[in-house]
Symmetry: C2
Amino acid sequence: MITKLIDVTTIPGIHWYPNGQTALSGIPLMLASALDRLFQSWAAQYDAKEYQFPPFIPAHELARLDYFRSFPHLVTFPITLDPGEANLSRFAEGEPMNAAGELQLTIPSPISNVMTPAACYHCYVRHQGETMHAPTYLTTRATCFRRESVYAPLERQWSFSMREIVCIGTADEVKAFLKHFQQHIDEFFQQLRLPIEWKAANDPFFNPSHNPKYLAQKLDPVKTEMVFQNHLAIGSINFHRNYFGEAFGIRRDGKEAFTGCVAFGIERWLFACLAQFGTEYALWPAPFRQGA
Amino acid sequence: MITKLIDVTTIPGIHWYPNGQTALSGIPLMLASALDRLFQSWAAQYDAKEYQFPPFIPAHELARLDYFRSFPHLVTFPITLDPGEANLSRFAEGEPMNAAGELQLTIPSPISNVMTPAACYHCYVRHQGETMHAPTYLTTRATCFRRESVYAPLERQWSFSMREIVCIGTADEVKAFLKHFQQHIDEFFQQLRLPIEWKAANDPFFNPSHNPKYLAQKLDPVKTEMVFQNHLAIGSINFHRNYFGEAFGIRRDGKEAFTGCVAFGIERWLFACLAQFGTEYALWPAPFRQGA
């Protein structure tokens, strides 16, 4: 249950849309950009290579993860109309939208893509079938899409910005990478007196009691969340074991590669920092304003 | 018809996906970022306010423009499954994807949004119903979505990045703004010896001979494109008259506001500059590298 710590919709530069999305301008946009620069500076500690990935992921790539059975409730699909002229005319010349604002589509084209649900999936798709001769570090910022039953500005949105830093390597290389970041980020929180607790978590599987992946996660947690004020997970550290290495045929040191990632929800960090430090840009701690 | 000036898929850091999208890394990503910084510096000449808009536009907002009748062939819709547990189970427990990689969706939720087709629409939605007491300048970069029958890397993509600089004002204010940018950009092209011609153009209406909007554009062109090597439109200057002011109830100086925009297709600029200047970052003209 989300309880409001602050009402961010009263802050100039945060524009909330009833469809579960926000526009940013002014100070909030400056702060969101500064947060991402901070995460990029952390990625640079590992010389992580920056990628800008496309907004869609081919469905057949996500199917390797059994994604559609695990998260059918979250996923958003991009669809278009079948391009036959008769089909388009039937849509265009009828009533494309009803009085409730709902589109009345005619026949769709085949649906073969998914809106990015998590930034790091792109990294494994990109490197599929490769043999890595050294640990590989990547970083990307992506707009991610998750349908929820209730949305709240900055806290829980249909679309949101996620920065990830990813390691593909041996089990030990990935563990060292994740350990470094947990320590580094924890010191950062303490230095800034940002009230964050680390908590083990599970991914939000559909029908969890029937899903062996959920049960495996419960027995051996792979996700540790950064929880602000016992209220909002603003990021997470994830150890995937060889799950993606196996699914995408990525090898390292003669075996399926291990992977791990550090993920930052940019709108949620913005929420936490606005709640903690207020809306005066000049009063935000210096590390958040660097490079502005 | 697209004829290849260069094969960009051989350039390291450009990763083409068969679904009509690209990932960028390395030098191409640095160049794309430098291009956007250049456009932002031009927006700053007018103190244009920067916005980061969401990826969706509510369908009822686009319906004000009769968008679904004019561009049904281009539009991409985000859809989700009806969240009822039986419906999700039917999808998840069946065969979510067939052997051709096509998803076999069960009942969708009502479809009330559209993937952003052009960055500047967000500006008029955002300021709808307002009375402007001065000319208003805005800028935004958005991922835009247009379904095409054929895609080509950087040149014609299902999704691409568009930077726009927008003016909302009186007819004279908008005309002065557009004239300034046409001159400024033209001088820039000449200074850099980038072979660009300005050409009047029309929007790609569905069934154009039946669409009064197409006929109006033909009689009085509103779009002037920056065409590279007689081959690829990399940007455009658009005078919308009071079309958006009327549709969204925006007023200026006692009348419906006029609007205009300057639009830059970032992947297409990248294509033109790679074709013209090559792939050595250091050999690109200085204005493209500033702030890197």
